[in-house]
Symmetry: C2
Subunit: 441 residues, 2 copies
């Protein structure tokens, strides 16, 4: 696999580039904005994720010999454009919401400023990363809220394409999960990894007891034994007989979980294994987690639902030209006019308005004049939401790698505290706070 990310791009971006180089509009200063018109699925808030990954991929957005050869052989663009792409590197500015930040309809999540030629080619890469990762993070945050203090592990890699799985583990971690089963996510992003055994482990052995004994021999009594391959009651009894009452945990992957978890807790306690933990992992989503709140469950493992965004596998973010200069160098705010896809043109600054520490509005200040929009630490409109990720092509490394991922998680857990109580309910509703557009002075 090539490391270049330049062809993770829709063809029309390059054909527009070619046409713009031909008619002279390629170098018009432009402002593209990545935002969502709505929150999918009646969610009360969205969670921004993917920004750190996007910045890493942006470093590799270069057209090398292999990429140029493909574009030439397929006649995607002309020779002038090939020459331009050969030298391409993004030299503009990218500002936006910190990873882990909440977003609402119209939030200017990412603002890409540069020439049209600079910015138009990043559309697909930016949207691919942010739409996927934010969809996962938004679902994961709801699960994290439903789980309360109980730890949540992401184990859905098998239900996501092999590289998305790594990104999904990262997004879930940012939104409050505490671990993942995915080893590559552990290596790439420093996320704690977990996992012990599958049903195949028990089936490989002639008896469940042999399987449990071998696992305890290999991993110690602190391990978690999967007890539902045959009969759960027998499985629990065997587990404690083999491991003793210091057994770390049992995992249940099937059955009517509230009932089964209660029965297993009683059985464990009767056997004297009062500190042995119960992990449940069967087709959980935020609703099933909430329904288990009163059950004696110690930890959750979530698979399919978190990596597929719990019914909403992609966010609905779009990447739109919001403003550009004309031939005379004057700024013009632009937006598509169709009635069903209203957008606000212009450059934007965004603030989370807070009253007594509780969010009351997403305040978006729209500037037609394109004076510098400050985002100071203190602002009468509220907490400034945008930071600068890329300045004149120079990428701030603080958002990348293990450190960037950890910082995003910390940020998310902090800003989630600002949400009004009604934002924490799982049912479908309007966004928890309104988006308020304000004209710049």
């Amino acid at each position: 696999m090539t490391t270049s990310t330049a062809l993770l791009t829709d063809r029309y971006e390059l054909t527009m580039l070619a046409a713009s180089l031909r008619d002279g509009t390629a170098f018009r200063p432009s402002v593209f904005e990545l935002f969502s018109r709505r929150l999918s699925g009646g969610r009360r808030f969205g969670v921004v994720a993917g920004t750190g990954r996007f910045l890493e991929l942006l470093r590799e957005f270069r057209f090398g010999d292999d990429e140029l050869r493909f574009l030439r052989d397929e006649h995607v663009v002309d020779a002038t454009s090939l020459k331009h792409l050969e030298e391409y590197r993004f030299t503009g500015t990218i500002r936006g919401y910190r990873e882990g930040e909440l977003y609402f309809p119209g939030s200017p999540i990412l603002t890409v400023e540069g020439t049209f030629a600079d910015a138009v080619v990043l559309e697909t890469l930016a949207l691919s990363v942010l739409n996927h990762d934010s969809a996962v993070a938004t679902a994961a945050s709801r699960m994290s809220i439903a789980a309360g203090e109980r730890p949540l592990a992401e184990m859905g890699s098998r239900r996501a394409a092999e590289r998305s799985a790594v990104a999904a583990a990262r997004a879930a971690y940012i939104a409050g999960f505490s671990a993942t089963s995915n080893l590559e996510a552990g290596r790439s992003w420093g996320i704690p990894t977990m996992g012990t055994a599958a049903h195949s482990w028990t089936l490989l052995h002639d008896t469940e007891e042999e399987a449990f004994r071998a696992q305890v021999d290999s991993m110690g009594v602190g391990t978690t034994l999967l007890v539902d391959t045959y009969d759960i009651r027998n499985g629990v009894e065997t587990a404690i007989r083999v491991a003793g009452t210091d057994l770390g945990g049992v995992r249940i992957d099937s059955g009517d979980l509230p009932i089964v978890a209660g029965d297993v807790r009683v059985q464990l306690d009767e056997l004297g294994a009062t500190s042995t933990r119960i992990t449940v992992t069967s087709d959980l989503d935020e609703y099933a987690i909430a329904a288990l709140a009163a059950s004696p469950v110690d930890a959750y493992g979530v698979g399919t639902s978190v990596v597929t965004g719990s019914g909403y596998p992609t966010a609905s973010m779009v990447y739109k030209l919001a403003a550009r200069q004309d031939a005379a160098g004057a700024w013009i705010a632009v937006a598509k006019a169709s009635a069903d896809k209203a957008s606000y043109g212009g450059r934007k600054a965004a603030f989370r308005t807070l009253v007594d520490g509780v969010a009351t509005a997403e305040t978006v200040v729209v500037s037609d004049g394109f004076e510098e929009l400050d985002t100071p630490a203190e602002h009468p409109d509220g907490r400034p939401l945008q930071v600068t990720f890329v300045e004149a092509g120079d990428i701030d490394t603080a958002h990348e790698g293990t450190e960037g991922t950890a910082a995003a998680r910390t940020h998310h857990l902090r800003v989630r505290e600002e949400l009004p109580v009604r934002a924490l309910a799982l049912s479908k509703s309007d966004p928890a706070i309104p988006t308020v557009y304000v004209e710049a002075d």
Copy 2:
């Protein structure tokens, strides 16, 4: 990004491996089976996709220094296991359904035979690829059936994680789409790419006319102009004034498509542009495509719905130990016993039973005895469905790359012809044909 795929793996596979090396079960000959217990979403058939990609990724499933260092530093496995993994390469046999083949509940889509240690570590990689790609292909095939002879283009990259997008383009192509917007899919798999311009192209210019003129200058009158940035009727009029009646096409990305398409066709014909084609691209899925069957639409572009499996973003395939030898070398068929997850243990051969060329059953011959299960070209139980992909670790290259992708598409379009008419309906139902289990003689 490392090219190794070895850590695209759930941690428990390696902890099971470690425990099996310790207790001596690691080298028990084993049969793992990848299958689905059901068709998600009341679909009437499933489409296998991803096998060619899986085989390519299997070539890179090697634990190099970086992978081993991570596993050692994180104490995932012990020194004996690290030594084993350092030398790991899959030396077993993999058989299964050809890519593009249809599948039904219980179809043995992929059978991995080798030692437990050989096969257990491939669970996540195989499932990640096949669950994702098959979910997309299954949705895409329904769209392809709904579109009939009209060409379908996949343009959903922005609504899928950046590497999934490439896989999704490939799966859609296998299932009958004719092109993709994704350039990397064009390079990697030889899929035709398409695309012309976004709304930002029009908004970059002072007038729609300037934008259209520049596009036609750059791409020729055969191009497709996006006419709905401002007012569709004005857009069409401007398009023909600029390009003439030989304009290749117009694209409509918003509005009530059956009405708008009809109006645009009338307008184009009145302007004399009778051969100018109409492409529609606004939030289409198989149902919207079917609803446009009577409208004068020439081509469809499908985004979100195809890359997210039209409501079912992952197939429900699982990877289960179906049989293994005991310490004495006797084969034992195994399956998890819980009532809600019934599985058939044993080794399986599968055939599509046909009557007058129409599929009537998925016949799965189950063998407890583990005699050789032939899959000859002719068989009384029907068309044999399994081929050998990997023999003693040697991967058949026929399924990879551009050639493998093209062959899968051809195979899919051919075997779809065997489906009974009722399989082509879009509404939710039972599988189009029953799965019939037969004991081997």
